[in-house]
Symmetry: C2
Subunit: 222 residues, 2 copies
């Protein structure tokens, strides 16, 4: 199975380098030389650099969506017809995110890639992820809506993205933060430790009191 080996070695090497330096800053030559495969192998197996980037994401996101759908199926079966508490939904998502990379790959790399997907320009990536994996996110937000009926739709939308920002930002910038934290507090921080700290913060953020209505409305009748 030398053919599969080359593809795997490219993907393994690429995901690490992408996570460390970003997409534009990682050349195909760096990837292929570090993976000890020929330069042309990337274009041969994947077609282009863009396609390689998408393949790196697929290898994480495909098993993630499968598992997440299954986990949500189970959760809905347990609470047959009723609403699923918000904390169970968040818990399930966190558990699934942790499970997937634990098998073969690094959770740190996975989170860094997610962070890059948001921040790097790479319009094609955002489009690809949205089209390919948008449905599972929609299903999740629908369940969250039923769990938090008191929240206005717009408010819930923004708060979900607030906590998404917290998680991705923290876990993708973990290395730099960990260096500071260990220097100042002499305390080693694992990813699971961080998730333990994140949980109450995320729950509190979702359950925060509603903001006051906008101060002044310029339009309409005086």
């Amino acid at each position: 199975m030398a053919q599969t080996d080359t593809v795997t070695r490219i993907l393994d090497t690429a995901e690490v380098l992408f996570a460390e330096r970003g997409f534009a800053e990682t050349s195909l030559r760096t990837i292929t030389s570090k993976a000890r495969v020929n330069l042309a192998a990337v274009n041969y197996h994947f077609g282009s650099k863009k396609a390689l980037i998408q393949a790196v994401f697929s290898r994480y996101l495909d098993p993630f969506t499968v598992r997440f759908h299954h986990a949500l199926d189970e959760l809905e079966a347990q609470h047959a017809g009723g609403v699923i508490p918000l904390e169970e939904l968040l818990e399930t998502m966190a558990r699934t995110v942790l499970e997937v990379p634990a098998e073969k790959h690094s959770l740190k790399v996975f989170m860094k890639l997610l962070g890059l997907a948001y921040s790097q320009a790479q319009g094609h990536l955002r489009r690809y992820i949205q089209e390919e994996y948008g449905s599972v996110f929609t299903r999740f937000t629908d369940l969250v809506r039923r769990a938090t009926p008191e929240l206005p739709d717009a408010e819930r939308f923004w708060r979900l993205h607030f906590v998404l920002g917290t998680v991705i930002f923290t876990l993708s910038g973990l290395d730099a933060l960990r260096d500071i934290a260990e220097k100042d507090y002499h305390e080693h921080v694992s990813v699971r430790d961080l998730i333990r700290r994140l949980r109450p913060v995320v729950v509190a953020a979702m359950n925060a009191p509603l903001p006051p209505p906008p101060a002044v409305q310029p339009a309409k009748a005086s």
Copy 2:
């Protein structure tokens, strides 16, 4: 003042392009042609592309630190000797962030640049910002520590970065999120509107209950 004009035009053009595409994806030729300036002018005035990137940040961060120090001076004078409430500290920071770009530049660009500073590799940038502007952040965190004495040091450290992640992530990815929000909820969202929504969430996150201690401790006596 043709000399100043060239420098300003380069900075004005560069910051917009950097914010839109990132650093590596923006070439000097793109900047200079869009700014209608000679290609050599960048290396003449700034020395290198790295130095140009740092200059773009300095133009925002220098006035920010000055204003923020002043604002903290006033705050400390008001609460002479006593502790400043957490919400006033956060409020002051938010107000200062809003004030600075409001003068000449775009708040959106400023936040996008901050997001890039975190996510893009550019090791030199993170080092530059930390060395140049680390002290004002240290002063702020010291005040936060006095305002939240019940929080363990490590917990406060992480929570500050959690909310930092929320704010930077949200405001730097604002365009993409706004598109989705307007399509789904037919509601225009301004930056100030977003900050109104962020306030209660951030406060609730900082005041969240402490996480349970780690499940299993391997070391020490049984």
